[in-house]
């Protein structure tokens, strides 16, 4: 076998995938109440299309806006709107949300007879993605139809399916590759048609060889689909690192993948596009992993958007041991929660509960210039100097050292012997730099 492809830099955190990688996807039970934020994506917020007392059906559009960079929101249950109110989401931000009391009996989603997938035009596919409310399901939640509309002067020739799942613990993409192989390939080819690319490449880390084999056996007859094995290294699934590992192309600082003729989409997004095109099903539920040493029975769950994470944790047998960190997303980039209250949104890839024996929250001490952050940075930045500039309030210097190029993978803080929270300093620097630019 050829050597696994990769990028320069990065880290090898403990992966702990075995906790959930063998668990087949199960449908989560319907909660007593779903809270669906009207804005679950990067871009313009939606207006509520329903109000208290309204009856809603599964898949009914309940939030939309005319803005291009946006994605509509659909009801994940059949039920009655209890109220439309501002509710804190997983980041702590108050977001206008539709609170729905589900019916006791939930109907199966009625698949509509879709068109022949091969006959869909690029515009039709983009329209399907937009109407279904598709966003990037790896976590960033950028509206898919916008990504499918690259600048006219930047033709895309390669669609990359980000099947890396480099975040430790998470296994939902892995399970979907095994259990939804055909749908995934069909969805990937729709993405290819939407941007007029010539081929699709699946990038998968070498710790999921069963998924590689599954995809290869299905794709062997397809001349436009390639399945590539990547070295197990974090953050292999970062867009720029993945493009480089698979194609050798380097996206310049501040530019998008279309600059080098690539489109990157996540496994979940590709499957959701297939469901939208073939079945007329909007994005109102998703697969996520509930796992970690603090979860009694880790699982991969298909959950309705708006399901409180407490419901999902309960259905996994609740906590075990001494849980000290409850994370929405992966452990490298996810959001620590103070209580199990937030609800699942389109970008929620997992719930990870860490126990006191694996959490190491050290006190921040002085930088000793060991260069471990520099060696780990996949963007070849010097995180220590960004931090130094941020501590001094020298925002121009923070920008000079590349604060805006940082995508917050956290490799620097993972390696730092002085427990410096670089990512936090970078976020502050980004906000300050943006504020200064606004003033100018």
């Amino acid at each position: 076998m050829a050597e696994a492809k990769t990028f320069k830099g990065g880290i090898h955190p403990p992966y702990n995938k075995e906790l959930a990688s063998g668990k087949a996807i199960k449908r989560a039970s319907v909660p007593a109440e779903v809270i669906i934020p009207l804005s679950q994506h990067i871009g313009a917020p939606n207006e509520a299309l329903v109000s208290a007392g309204d009856r809603v059906e599964v898949g009914q559009k309940i939030g939309a806006t005319d803005a291009f960079v946006s994605a509509p929101v659909h009801s994940s249950v059949a039920g009655t709107v209890k109220e439309v109110a501002d509710v804190a989401n997983f980041t702590g931000a108050k977001v206008k949300s539709v609170i729905i009391t589900p019916d006791a009996e939930q109907p199966e989603f009625a698949k509509k007879q879709g068109k022949d997938l091969d006959s869909l035009s690029a515009d039709e596919i983009r329209e399907i993605a937009k109407e279904a409310g598709l966003v990037g399901m790896g976590g960033a939640a950028f509206p898919t139809h916008v990504k499918l509309t690259p600048p006219k002067d930047k033709p895309v020739d390669i669609v990359i399916i980000n099947a890396v799942e480099c975040e430790p613990f998470l296994t939902c993409d892995h399970r979907q590759m095994l259990e939804r192989t055909d749908d995934l390939i069909a969805g990937a080819r729709l993405l290819k048609s939407a941007v007029g690319a010539s081929k699709v490449i699946f990038g998968i880390e070498a710790n999921k060889m069963d998924a590689v084999d599954a995809l290869r056996s299905k794709a062997s007859s397809l001349s436009d689909v390639e399945v590539e094995v990547l070295e197990v290294k974090y953050p292999e699934g970062a867009e720029k690192m993945l493009i480089f590992a698979l194609t050798g192309r380097k996206v310049p600082p501040g530019k998008l993948p279309s600059e080098v003729g690539c489109l990157v989409q996540n496994v979940g997004t590709a499957i959701a596009l297939y469901e939208a095109a073939a079945w007329g099903k909007p994005l109102y539920e998703r697969v996520l992993t509930v796992t970690g040493p603090g979860i009694r029975e880790p699982a991969n769950l298909l959950a309705a958007i708006g399901t409180p994470i407490s419901t999902l944790i309960d259905s996994c047998g609740g906590f075990v041991g001494n849980p000290v960190k409850l994370i929405i997303g992966g452990p490298m980039t996810g959001w620590a929660q103070s209580e199990a209250k937030a609800t699942v949104v389109k970008g929620t890839s997992g719930i990870v509960v860490l126990t006191s024996d694996v959490v190491d929250v050290g006190e921040e001490t002085d930088c000793v210039r060991c260069t471990k952050c520099i060696d780990a940075c996949p963007m070849f930045l010097s995180p220590n100097f960004i931090v130094q500039a941020a501590k001094r309030g020298q925002w121009d210097k923070a920008e000079m050292w590349g604060a805006l190029d940082c995508f917050e993978c956290g490799c620097c803080s993972f390696e730092c012997p002085a427990y410096i929270p670089h990512v936090q300093y970078v976020r502050t620097a980004k906000a300050e730099i943006a504020a200064l630019k606004k003033k100018e």
């Binding site: 310049p252 944790i313 980039t333 209580e339 260069t371 390696e415």
Partner: protein, 315 residues
């Protein structure tokens, strides 16, 4: 649900086992072979030197934390490392006052007055040592016999290996084997460069240091040594080259951060060592070379700042 203990911190939520204190402990472990060899060779004298140097560095560190009203930094191990390195630079017969002054310069002046751990331009132990060999003559004139420093790290006593280099008579000095394992002369660490090399290999294995700086220094001294007509191999085995290359020039704080900067840094040190040894006074050649090279670190870090991923021309 029991969620009272939940900790809120920014990501990432996983942490490697890297810790400043563990790295310092690794340096102490790496210094164990040469320290033991020194104790075997110089017995109570070496024990006295180590006790005074380490003890006074720890006391000064503790005092500075008190004065600066900071939490004690003794646990991070850096003061202990400075103390042990300082001790290893000293000759066995050194007077106690010299060591305490050197420790004061190292910890109080070079480290704390520069802003504390991480902000010092010079390697504290080396600077303390260089200070004391520079002024000990002066001290002697004030205090008589008390301040006199006899011999020293890279210092010339009769029959230290370095004296043979200076006089071009390497062939008459100790054999390579003796230099590697059991040659006594000069500082208490000059008891066989093999023991230092062993510790250096451990530091590279533990990824506390990279091989770039030591390899550049050793290669430069070896090759340039032969070019200027002396025995290059003898040059790297004798005196403090090994200790300097693996333990002093690789000090995180006072060495360049980027690979090519580290190469130039190693070259500067290597060239200076040979030039000072062969054409100048060999006393403290390694120490002076590293201290001078420390001055270039800020410049080297600026000059060799790596291009960002995907960056083509300089922004």
């Amino acid at each position: 649900m029991a969620t009272d203990n939940l900790i809120i911190t920014p990501p990432p939520h996983l942490k490697s086992k890297e810790q400043t204190a563990i790295a310092m402990r690794d340096v102490l472990i790496a210094l164990a072979p040469v320290t033991i060899a020194a104790l075997v060779a110089f017995t109570y004298n070496a024990l006295f030197v180590i006790a005074v140097c380490v003890g006074s560095c720890l006391v000064f560190e503790w005092l500075m934390c008190k004065i600066k009203k900071r939490k004690s930094t003794l646990a991070d191990g850096s003061a202990a490392v400075t103390g042990l390195l300082l001790a290893l630079l000293m000759p066995a017969q050194v007077q106690w006052l010299n060591m305490i002054i050197a420790a004061f310069i190292a910890i109080v002046v070079v480290k704390w007055l520069m802003g504390g751990l991480g902000r010092n331009i010079f390697n504290p132990a080396l600077f303390g040592y260089v200070f004391i060999i520079t002024v000990s003559g002066l001290l002697a004139s004030w205090t008589g016999n008390l301040g006199m420093l006899k011999g020293g790290f890279d210092g010339v006593m009769t029959a230290t290996p370095l004296a043979y280099i200076k006089s071009g008579l390497e062939g008459l000095g100790p054999s390579y084997g003796a230099l590697l394992f059991a040659n006594y002369g000069g500082a208490i660490s000059e008891v066989g460069s093999f023991w230092v090399l062993l510790g250096g290999a451990y530091l590279i294995y533990r990824k506390v240091i990279s091989w770039v700086i030591p390899a550049t220094i050793l290669a430069t001294v070896l090759i340039l040594g032969y070019i200027v007509g002396s025995d290059g191999l003898y040059q790297i085995l004798a005196g403090g080259v090994m200790l300097g290359a693996f333990f002093m020039a690789t000090d995180w704080v006072s060495s360049p951060m980027y690979t090519w900067g580290q190469v130039i840094f190693g070259l500067i040190i290597g060239v200076l060592i040979v030039l000072i040894r062969v054409y100048g006074a060999p006393t403290g050649a390694v120490a002076y070379s590293i201290i001078i090279a420390n001055c270039f670190v800020i410049l080297l870090d600026k000059a060799f700042k790596p291009k960002r991923f995907g960056e083509v021309a300089a922004a």
